[in-house]
């Protein structure tokens, strides 16, 4: 009990510091500007490094992911932090698990080098030549315009490091539902070194689920406050049953997302890779689906105010819709869920065997 309580306290402390940091340096009201600007704010990123927060996913710290990274990413989610925190934390952890063979971690965790993950699949294809050069293009890449390097995951789960300065690497900013540093990475015989990043997708999916759950939770809180104040027909609209039921359904969705994200982070920290794949894929689909559902329901309740850019609701709904296509997208994770399910020995199987023997 003592250890769990100590962890909760550490987590709460980190969360409080992070909340303060983001309120000061990345408040929601500046999100519109960040979207238009489309670059990673380097000073702020280095500050994260100085605080030691880019190393919170360090695999040698037991519970690091489920406790510290969870707390930090949740606070980032609450303000829809635009910089690639989830991606970099996932890359950092994967490099750590692999033993950091190319000595990249020090710069990554210091915040002086940003290495962004790039997943092929629905977003694009990349081919490896016999000389180890990469060609192809991948869209929906989180902030490669600000990144110094990319970890490209091919379709056969090979992984490569490509330098942003490589002459064969070009970044085309995209105009998309979510503004900011989202781009298409175009590779033309770019030099690449093989780099192992075990568990990158599982870690990223679990952290993305954590981000989505927290963002949905923050939107719900703001919506509860809004409906308590907004009056129509002589009473707060939050006193109407239809509104209450909608918010109650959203609260259920948020609790589910949080619980599944927690479970996913714990599984990623465990030794069982199939369990990590299953739990992280499950959490990703569930939390991103629910984030969109919550956002749509909240829009209905915010009325015209939520549709206008005077409120922040539109930031949440667009980001929610966007997130479903990240980390390889919904279909990839659904396939992983089905595959792991089909491979699992069921309790039913055990009982059937017992009856067969008796």
């Amino acid at each position: 009990m003592g250890e769990a309580a100590a962890r909760r306290e550490e987590s709460a402390l980190l969360a409080a510091c992070a909340r303060s940091f983001f309120a000061d340096r990345a408040p929601l009201r500046h999100l519109g500007d960040a979207e238009r600007d489309g670059r990673i704010e380097r000073d702020r990123w280095r500050a994260l490094g100085e605080l030691g927060w880019l190393g919170v996913s360090n695999p040698s710290e037991p519970g690091a992911l489920a406790v510290h990274a969870a707390a930090l990413v949740a606070e980032a989610g609450r303000v829809l932090f635009p910089d690639p925190l989830v991606g970099v934390l996932a890359v950092a952890r994967a490099l750590g698990v692999a033993g950091d063979p190319h000595s990249l971690l020090a710069e990554v965790t210091a915040g002086s080098r940003i290495i962004a993950p790039v997943l092929t699949g629905a977003g694009g294809r990349v081919e490896v030549s016999s000389r180890g050069r990469l060609s192809g293009s991948v869209a929906f890449v989180e902030s490669p315009d600000g990144a110094d390097a990319f970890v490209v995951l091919g379709s056969t789960d090979e992984s490569f490091l490509v330098d942003a300065e490589d002459p064969g690497a070009a970044v085309r900013p995209m105009r998309a539902m979510v503004g900011g540093a989202w781009s298409e990475l175009v590779l033309t015989r770019a030099a690449a070194i093989r780099i192992p990043v075990p568990g990158l997708v599982e870690t990223g999916a679990a952290l993305a689920a954590t981000f989505a759950a927290a963002a949905a939770g923050a939107l719900l809180e703001a919506t509860v406050a809004y409906v308590a104040g907004r009056r129509q027909f002589g009473r707060p609209i939050g006193s109407f049953q239809a509104v209450q039921h909608s918010l109650a359904s959203s609260a259920i969705a948020v609790d589910q997302s949080r619980a599944l994200a927690r479970r996913a982070l714990a599984a990623v920290e465990g030794e069982d890779l199939p369990a990590a794949r299953y739990a992280s894929a499950l959490a990703f689909v569930a939390a991103t689906d629910r984030f969109v559902d919550v956002a749509r329901r909240c829009h209905q309740v915010w009325g015209g105010m939520g549709f206008s850019t005077e409120s922040d609701v539109h930031h949440f709904s667009r980001r929610a819709r966007w997130m479903k296509q990240t980390w390889g997208g919904r279909t990839r994770h659904l396939d992983a869920v089905a595959n792991e399910r089909l491979r699992t020995k069921l309790l039913l199987d055990r009982y059937a065997e017992a009856r067969a023997l008796s």
Partner: protein
């Protein structure tokens, strides 16, 4: 002394017990998770001999005292296997009686429940008191050292086989409605009780129970007179954690998984997608169990998680049956006992059975009202 095992150890013991004692006749015997058939009765006595039907109270009353969390785990496992759980007796009535009943009542009824030898029917709802349960009007009038009951209960599903009825009656017609209710333990064979059958779309029965001048000894009042609403709410909170189809939902998913796994089906992209989506829905609905257990482990009442679990699990099981019936072909609409049915007719059965889950045990509208007001702090409408 029977030291409390870890959750994993307990689950394993229960599963091993199920392997030994499973009776294949029982899952075919209809939906009551109580002792309404000789086979179920015999099985429940065996469970009782393990000490597992009294997990919610201590050894002084025949229980093991391990807690509501263990009772819930037991129920999940038994329900998964299609076996009776005595959830009403062990998870709802028993713990409430343990907290509020007199010594005499506790000594008389708790050991019997723990042995699997007592069936209890819940006498709550009336024709005019469903979601608005506090408006119940079956009256209990004090007469010497007895109470006299007159009125009617409805949806008293176990009344045709139960030994006792856990009855909510109005003992004060002057007080505000929530403050005039008392709970009694009434022998089901008391003179003046008449049970009439109501059929349901799930092929089982429920009942209307008429009470005409039914005399109940005063010592059958549970706890304080007019304090019944508090006990009732407490019991419903517990019901939400334990009586909703968590085990059945897990079994649904495993049955679907096993079926898709068979030969040609696991290459069918539509069925793989169905399996994946079903898995996400089920795991999300069941995630409230994790939250509830975290709260129970730290000694708190899992009110929020239990309320959410009730809504999520009932609606998930309904939606899942509906989607599966859409996707696996029309033979899935054949009943369980038709040899041509798909998935052993499980989802034909579930679709009809689960209609009531979003209504009974506190309609989901009421649960959402509770979530909004109690947990989100939203204001009342009136």
């Amino acid at each position: 002394m029977n030291p409390r095992p870890t959750y994993d150890e307990f689950r394993e013991r229960v599963r091993a017990f199920i392997e030994r004692e499973y009776d294949p006749v029982i899952p075919l015997q209809g939906p009551f998770p109580q002792a309404d058939t000789p086979e179920k009765k015999s099985f429940l006595r065996k469970v009782g001999r393990q000490g597992w039907l009294g997990l919610g109270w201590g050894p002084e009353y025949g229980g093991l005292g391990w807690g509501a969390d263990y009772q819930h785990l037991l129920q999940q496992e038994l329900e998964y296997a299609g076996l009776p759980t005595c959830s009403i007796e062990s998870a709802m009535v028993g713990p409430t009686l343990a907290r509020h009943g007199s010594e005499a009542l506790k000594e008389r009824f708790l050991p019997a429940i723990a042995r699997g030898e007592l069936s209890v029917a819940l006498g709550y709802s009336e024709a005019g008191a469903g979601s608005d349960l506090a408006s119940l009007s079956l009256r209990a009038r004090r007469d010497g050292d007895e109470w006299v009951l007159d009125g009617e209960k409805m949806w008293t599903s176990a009344a045709h086989f139960a030994d006792v009825i856990w009855l909510a009656a109005r003992t004060d017609f002057e007080a505000p409605k929530h403050r005039g209710i008392s709970i009694f333990l009434v022998d089901a064979d008391s003179p003046g009780i008449a049970v009439s059958r109501i059929g349901t779309m799930h092929d089982d029965r429920t009942n209307i129970v008429h009470f005409e001048h039914v005399r109940v000894p005063a010592d059958r009042l549970v706890g304080e007179e007019n304090a019944g609403w508090r006990y009732l709410i407490e019991a419903l909170d517990l019901e939400r954690l334990s009586a909703f189809p968590v085990g059945n939902l897990r079994r649904d998913l495993d049955e679907l998984t096993a079926w898709v796994r068979e030969n040609s089906r696991k290459d069918d992209p539509a069925l793989l997608r169905l399996l994946a989506e079903a898995t996400v829905s089920v795991e999300a609905a069941l995630s409230h169990v994790d939250d509830a257990f975290d709260l129970l482990a730290s000694g708190e009442r899992p009110a929020r998680a239990a309320t959410m679990l009730k809504v999520a699990v009932s609606e998930c099981r309904q939606d899942l049956a509906d989607r599966i019936l859409d996707e696996v072909g029309p033979r899935a609409l054949l009943r369980r006992d038709d040899p041509g049915t798909t998935l052993a007719g499980r989802f034909e059965d579930a679709w009809r059975r689960e209609i009531i889950s979003s209504i009974a045990g506190g309609a989901n509208e009421i649960q959402r009202d509770l979530i909004a007001r109690r947990h989100l702090g939203l204001p009342r409408g009136d």
